[in-house]
């Protein structure tokens, strides 16, 4: 094999007393893709931050093209040809494609930006990855996928020989990911070495060559990317995940009490006349394409979005547009975007768990501080939130543990009906199963769950009944026993007349096909 472009040799990194990376060695070869695989908190991010000059290793060496180097900052890494595409894109949405590609090193002529040269550079950079966008187009008006490709073009225009991609497909649809992979193939052919991180195991065999499995800051093993998904999960988690979906779908008892009734709910424009009910012990899945109105429907039920129609919980009608009333009645809402909607990141775990119960446990307007802390501690322990203690800030927890903190809030509040909007997005395999177990515990304890998810296997694996939405309407209902991915997809696209939604449907179908393959 050729000489590695980039080598990390026995690197270590600690933050205070916490050893995040211990004695890890990774090689990146030209024309090959090294996959870093591990649960959240296994050390992947720290590792790539050392590769890109954001962190410096406490011990160990970094070699680029056979020579020992130090990377004191991002600029130093860039000079050596190491470019990183971070999960959060480093682009300016208000500027054009061309301006973004040349950001910080605009071509000048007589002291002003040379617009022609700017456009030429952009076209050239995009041509390298087979992209042909208008250089003058405004970046902010493009989808995430295109923005991501612009960032790849930008990295390559810096003559990057080593490209680090941190979860580039997290926000992409199937077709968009496929386009990115095609670009990666081309780069491989040209000898660029790549590091790739993804939580979608099915992508690894498609783009990867070798997989470095990390666990608790150590390299567990290095295996070929063709290794089976089950085996990869086992290596990652370090134990057999007995069942991915720990809850068996069941037909509800005929006399199960109705907990939630939604009648004729519409929201401004999107959701049209949605009606359904949820019974004690039930998980109702809400499936559909992105943009079908599932999130809006769930938000309307939770009182977070203006609505018409009625929502009744345990026989009591909830006033519209009043989250407080819904919470008091027993609704718990785990929103789609935990960082922006679910958590106060710079507040401790105990506060985040306690927000919904501050008022009702107070005496004479004073916070029950000891009680809030104790309850937070109990529930965090029960849900196995991995943290130092309840005083730790939520920002420092991994994605799965952050999600468990949002869950914990509603467990403490004793909510009877949980509305879960993409509860496992950006959560690693181990934590996913734990979240499924929480769903099971809620229904076993006599609660009910409405589950919105874009992952069909998850909806099929966890729900007793599945409602399918398309263009704001509930277009069908399937019992778990009769539900298949095809049946759900057929309903999900059943209402679509417009080209845009048809296109979306095709995207999703493509991805589904790929996942099954």
């Amino acid at each position: 094999m050729s000489e590695p472009l980039l080598r990390l040799v026995n690197v270590c990194k600690a933050f205070g007393p916490v050893r995040v990376i211990e004695d890890v060695s990774v090689d990146v070869h030209p024309g090959r893709v090294t996959v870093l695989l591990g649960e959240n908190g296994a050390g992947k991010s720290t590792l790539i931050k050392m590769m890109s000059g954001i962190y410096q290793p406490d011990a160990g060496e970094i070699h680029v093209a056979g020579e020992k180097v130090s990377l004191p900052d991002v600029k130093a890494a860039e000079r050596l040809g190491i470019a990183t595409i971070h999960q959060e894109l480093n682009l300016v949405p208000t500027m054009s494609v061309a301006q973004n590609i040349s950001l910080g090193r605009e071509p000048r002529r007589f002291g002003v930006v040379d617009r022609k040269e700017l456009a030429r550079t952009a076209r050239e950079a995009m041509a390298r990855i087979g992209m042909n966008l208008d250089p003058a187009a405004n970046l902010g008006e493009m989808g995430v996928a295109r923005q991501q490709l612009v960032e790849v073009a930008k990295a390559l225009s810096l003559d990057a020989r080593i490209l680090i991609l941190d979860e580039p497909t997290a926000a992409l649809t199937g077709a968009e990911s496929a386009a990115l992979f095609a670009v990666m193939d081309e780069l491989k052919a040209r000898g660029v070495g790549m590091v790739f991180i993804s939580h979608h195991l099915d992508e690894l065999a498609r783009v990867g060559d070798t997989v470095v499995v990390l666990r608790d800051g150590h390299v567990v093993t290095e295996v070929p990317a063709s290794t089976s998904e089950d085996e990869l999960i086992r290596l990652m988690v370090g134990r057999q995940l007995s069942e991915q979906f720990p809850r068996r779908p069941r037909r509800r008892d005929a006399d199960a009490e109705e907990l939630l009734r939604v009648e004729g709910v519409s929201t401004g424009g999107l959701v049209q006349d949605a009606s359904f009910s949820v019974h004690r012990g039930e998980v109702v899945g809400l499936a559909g394409l992105v943009g079908a109105g599932r999130t809006e429907l769930v938000r309307a039920i939770a009182g977070a979005e203006k609505r018409t129609g009625s929502v009744t919980l345990c026989g009591e009608e909830l006033s519209a547009n009043d989250v407080g009333a819904a919470v008091r009645a027993g609704i718990g809402h785990v929103p789609e975007d935990r960082k922006h909607q679910g958590l106060v990141l710079d507040a401790p775990v105990k506060h985040n768990i306690g927000y919904a119960t501050l008022g009702r446990t107070a005496k004479a307007g004073l916070v029950d501080r000891a009680g809030q802390r104790r309850r937070a501690q109990d529930v965090a322990q029960k849900l196995r939130v991995r943290m130092r203690d309840v005083d730790q800030h939520v920002r420092d927890l991994s994605g799965g543990n952050q999600q468990k903190v949002v869950f914990a809030r509603w467990v403490v509040a004793g909510s009877t009906v949980l509305l879960l909007d993409e509860p496992t997005r950006g959560v690693d395999v181990g934590a996913k199963v734990e979240i499924y177990e929480l769903v099971r515990d809620v229904t076993d304890a006599g609660g009910a769950v409405v589950l919105v998810s874009s992952e069909l296997p998850e909806v099929l694996g966890m729900s007793d009944r599945i409602l399918v939405m398309s263009e704001g309407r509930i277009t069908g209902e399937l019992e778990a026993q009769e539900a298949t991915e095809d049946a759900v997809m057929a309903l999900a696209v059943s209402n679509s007349h417009s080209d845009a939604s048809a296109e979306r449907a095709i995207d999703t179908l493509e991805r589904e096909t790929r996942e099954r393959a």
Partner: protein
Amino acid sequence: MNSTATGISRQRGFDLKNFAANNGALIGLIVLAVVMAIASPAFLSAQNLVNVGEQVATIAILAFGMTFVIVAAGIDLSVGSVAALSAMASASMVAGWGLPEVLTIVAGLVVGALAGAVTGIAAAYGKLPAFIASLAMMSVARGLTMVISDGRPVEAPSQVAALGGDLGPIPVPIVVLVIAGLVAAFVLRFTVAGSYMYAVGGNIEAARLSGIPVKRVVVLVFLLSGVFAALAGMVTAGRLDSVQPTIGTGAELDAIAAVVIGGASLSGGVGRISGTLVGALVLAVIRNGLNLLNVSPFWQQVVIGVVIALAVLFDVIRHKNTRL
């Protein structure tokens, strides 16, 4: 992955480094006081310390109210004007409408609360940015003060004048300052409303989806800011023994500076009353010390500007170091 206990033991006992990192403003204040004491022997005299105390009272009381607003991720530019309006309105009610003198202070506080509530309602329900809503109130309140007084000073009612007096050896403004500080700290630390302020400032959407009545919280912080402004206005009038329509001009910026020097974040969710008090003291000690050293007031402004920048810079660096 390991279980909850990953072998990280919490450090017990007094950690000087940690204490210094979390109390930068306090350490700055101590250093400042030591330097002033060495540079000017008059600094530590009882008379001068009482002076500092009196000077700090107005700014600190305004800044306590401002702390609620800033913790909830707002900003209140109207406090200086509301201070003037409240003092002027209550004095006029006594003089013009024959309001019983015992009610003077209550009337002033009510006016402050109303003005604050209006700003809060405009921000929460009218969806105006806090900056704009309070900028508008700043102008309205100052204008009303001028309208009521016709631009002329009014004699301070006896109750207000008493706020400028002495309680034994201690000036009343210092007593008011201490009580106001304790009340403010109590609200922020122990009440549900205080916890809501931190939540709203930390992430308003997460607070809303948790069922916290965010709009009412926003109205409340501005209302409290108005009440504290009214108190500060009457204390100032008491010290001057007359209600000047120009009371508190520009004071909102001092109050914001005190809160920020005290470690609060303008993006919300962070801030303590003790920090705000230290921030106000830093400003007062610098002014007082530079006066004693005969530094021109023009240079004082330069120094204060630099101090504000340094205080925030220190905070930024600290956050960078503690973040994993």
